[in-house]
Amino acid sequence: MCIDEKTLIEACQKQSPKAQRQLYERFAPKMLAVALRYTNGRLEAEDVLQEGFIKIFKHINNFRGESSLEHWIKTIIIHTALKQNRSKLYLFPALDVEDLPESYHESTELLSALHYEDLLKMIQELAPRYRVVFNLYAIEGYQHQEIANMLDISEGTSKSQYARAKQILRERIEQESIKKMVLLDNNKTIR
């Protein structure tokens, strides 16, 4: 039986195991997808998911409904992932954003041709410092100033990390697209 969100929250606040299970089932797949973007692989992402949901259930009494439940849960999952990677994140080198090339042509068309799994793999293969900034800026939509506050770095460092991540991803997208095209050509030739 599917119950509405408010009733579900109230039941979770009363620590009902059934409601907790239902809330988990409702949001876990989406949140695992989020955690996967911030981690190296599935094992690490499931650890984040586990730790994040324990925090959520422990502190659900503090949820006042000022934002959507999904947003609140997602924030906790992101924060948990960041906390887990904190030691790696402190190794930010101070790159100058102006030094990075901006000459790449738009790879948007190539990007749209790629699947979710391919893109996720590309993100996971990024160094943690690039991965986090890319996720926060490009996908979650935070501003560089907010990212700087969150990670305790300067705004310039956030920008430079993002520019570098973007550069790497564009290269990877192009490589991946070429690979796919070659594979496609080969298939046609075989037929």
């Binding site: 620590q15 195991p17 907790q20 299970r21 988990y24 876990a28 797949p29 989406k30 695992l32 997808a33 996967l36 973007r37 499931e46 998911l49 586990q50 949901f53 324990i54 925090k55 959520i56 259930f57 422990k58 502190h59 503090n62 949820f63 006042r64 000022e66 934002s67 947003h71 609140w72 924030t75 906790i76 924060h79 906390k83 738009e106 790879s107 948007t108 990007l111 749209s112 790629l114 979710y116 893109l119 996720l120 993100i123 800026y137 490009a138 996908i139 939509g141 935070y142 100033q145 907010e146 506050n149 969150m150 990670l151 305790d152 973007k166």
Partner: protein
Amino acid sequence: MKNFEQEWRNKMLNSQVSPSELVWENIAQELAQNNQKVRAINKRQWIALAVLVFLPLILGDGRFVWLFVGETYQRFAYKKNETTRTNDISLLTNTTQNIGKTIKKINKNNFLTQNPPSEAIFFAKASYELGEKEEHTNLLKKDTPLLAQHKLGKPKMRRWRLGQNFTALQNFSTFEYTPTLQEPALSGRVMLADNSTAQKDKNIQKELDSYRHLFSWRAGIDFQYQFHPNFYISSGLYYQQNIASLKSFSTQPAPLISGYSENPPIASENNYTNLLNSNIEANQAKPLSQEKTYFQRGSYLQIPLKIGFQKEKNKWRYGVALGTEASFLLSNNFAQEGSSVKVDAKQNLQNVQWLALSELSLGYRVGAKTWLNINPQFRKNFVPSLQNSAFTQKNLFSIGIGAGLQYNF
């Protein structure tokens, strides 16, 4: 350019991946264990609350004091709200040989007649945190309220803190004169040719009215152990110095005077005999035509022990603490135009003063590591602040401004 980010969002934001069943099993197991822990914590909180309630009662009854400083307790024993008065001048004009016996007899029956004083102190303090950073500043601006809700910004469960601070204080107190058999050996009374009771009372009250607190300061260190996200115990070591002035007709400060806290000079039980003897001799002299100002400089060593509750929300920190404090009088000097009297510190160290204290605190984080705090503190002494006193310090109110450093471990 924006298309690039938008395309990533389209691809990634609505994606879903099913987790393995093991994840939920681990979560359910952890939640079950946590529920047991919560019940255990609630039990500990109740025990802590019971201790908080009963500790001051036990201390207030004097039993705790008696256990540790039995002799001192007896010296300080008093009969509450019981005052006596004698007009028998012969008691005060006995010969030196008889005085000792007389005073001893009086002391046995009439120790102290005043109520222990209450004090209120209002601190405003700025503190700067050093050491391990507490993770409540690294939050996304737009998510700060959300993150605060699930307390990710709270300090960790158990930690030590070491603080040092300096506080400047201004004291205000009022005195109520209640005549007793053993009147205070205020210096003005000593020199009066008119030794009548009415004149003495008038002169004593005048001296009490002239007593002014000039300046006090306090510096020290405190240790805090946080054993729960919201509970801590703390202790410390503080040195306090009070400077006050008193106007009198006397040509010299009363000899061997002792007293606690911020009080005018008073003869101690031990030296009352000597003082009375010197008073008799002094009575032969003529009173001065002009008042003179005496300066009192008293220093104290204070050791508090507190248990407190503290909570943080966003940039605010608020809490309450209860506890006790032992105050040791280190020195008590009076000076006037080159002459001074220093009280034997060893003698006064035995005269430990105990009090119960309750403290409220309200802090606001003004910078990443800087806090502004306001701490009203209410203190109730277990014993009267003066021995054999004929007047009561009705209350003491202090305002303090301080600065401090706090190290987090």
